[in-house]
């Protein structure tokens, strides 16, 4: 099916998925990481971004 929108959007290269994955991981580390990936170091991350996590509405301890 030819959509009228195709001229609107550039083709998305494969590396775009890698970028999206990195962006999701960064968001996870800042807002969600509580020990799954970093173990004990996550506590420092959690405490440093603590105000940001609360302020952005993320569930926190």
């Amino acid at each position: 099916m030819t959509s009228p929108a195709h001229h609107l959007s550039p083709p998305i290269p494969r590396w775009a998925y890698a970028v999206a994955l990195v962006a999701l991981m960064v968001t996870w580390l800042v807002l969600q990481e509580n020990g799954i990936a970093l173990g004990h170091a996550a506590e420092s991350l959690h405490e440093f971004f603590h105000d940001g996590r609360h302020a952005l509405g993320v569930p926190c301890h």
Binding site: P4, D51, H54, G57, H61
Partner: protein, 251 residues
């Protein structure tokens, strides 16, 4: 036409600006109820010095560092969300295809705000420090991310439905899609379980609701700021209008 790389860089730039604006809203607005909530926490700790209060805030970092961390969190999340938003925008081949890029950007950001911030804020309202049981944080995180995923599914489904109903007159199509979206959101709000934690009795309700509204102001600044700035950067007509006065002068 802009390449994907160009779209991505505009998304990251717009996300950084929106994240900084959201961080400033956090600094000026959200920090006020956070300070009030931390005072409640301190009073609680002072009343029962022997009791284990779960988390000791400000032991690892001072309050000043945590305030900076709060702004930095918004900026970093803004950059990351900007990259994701740009990819979604580049991949959105059904989203308001007959509208100018600025309108497409702002409406897409508004929909993302609805699904990723407003919907969880209604179902699982944000809580300040001193609220929330550490034992239920994993369960609450699953519920929170689940409601966001379900909300994004409603956005995607509505867009898909609209693209399948192009044979209908526009007003009827809009009504059908709006009703379907409302039905989807209603099902989500009813199907997901209630938040598991009770609000502690020593948390004043005005602090709680000041915080919840302030938090919503920060997420709204992030998402709508992203949509507006990205729209300004992506819409070619913005660049044309700046060229026009020069052309008029030359003529």
């Amino acid at each position: 036409m802009t390449t994907y790389k160009g779209v991505l860089l505009r998304g990251i730039g717009a996300g950084g600006i929106a994240g900084l604006l959201a961080g400033l809203v956090g600094l000026v607005v959200v920090e006020v109820p956070i300070r009030a909530a931390l005072a409640v926490e301190e009073a609680r700790a002072a009343a029962e010095p022997a009791a284990e209060s779960g988390h000791d805030h400000g032991e690892l970092f001072g309050r000043g560092t945590q305030v900076v961390g709060g702004v930095l969190a918004a900026v970093i999340v803004g950059l990351a969300i900007g990259a994701l938003f740009a990819t979604a925008y580049a991949g959105a081949r059904r989203w308001f295809v007959d509208r100018p890029p600025f309108t497409r950007s702002v409406t897409l950001a508004a929909a993302a705000f609805g699904a990723a911030a407003l919907l969880p804020a209604v179902k699982y309202p944000a809580n300040p420090p001193a609220v929330g049981n550490p034992d239920t944080v994993d369960y609450r995180t699953v519920l929170y991310l689940g409601v966001i995923a379900a909300g994004l599914l409603v956005v995607f489904g509505s867009s898909y439905l609209a693209s399948r109903l192009t044979h209908l007159p526009a007003p009827i199509r809009s009504t059908v899609v709006a009703l379907a979206a409302i039905a989807g959101v209603t099902v989500i709000l009813l199907a997901f379980p209630a938040p598991p934690d009770a609000i502690p009795a020593d948390m004043p309700s005005d602090v709680l609701w000041d915080f919840r509204l302030a938090s919503l102001a920060e997420t709204a600044t992030l998402w709508l700021g992203l949509g507006v700035v990205f729209g300004l950067l992506i819409d070619p007509s913005v660049r044309k209008t700046t060229a026009k006065p020069q052309a008029a002068l030359a003529a």
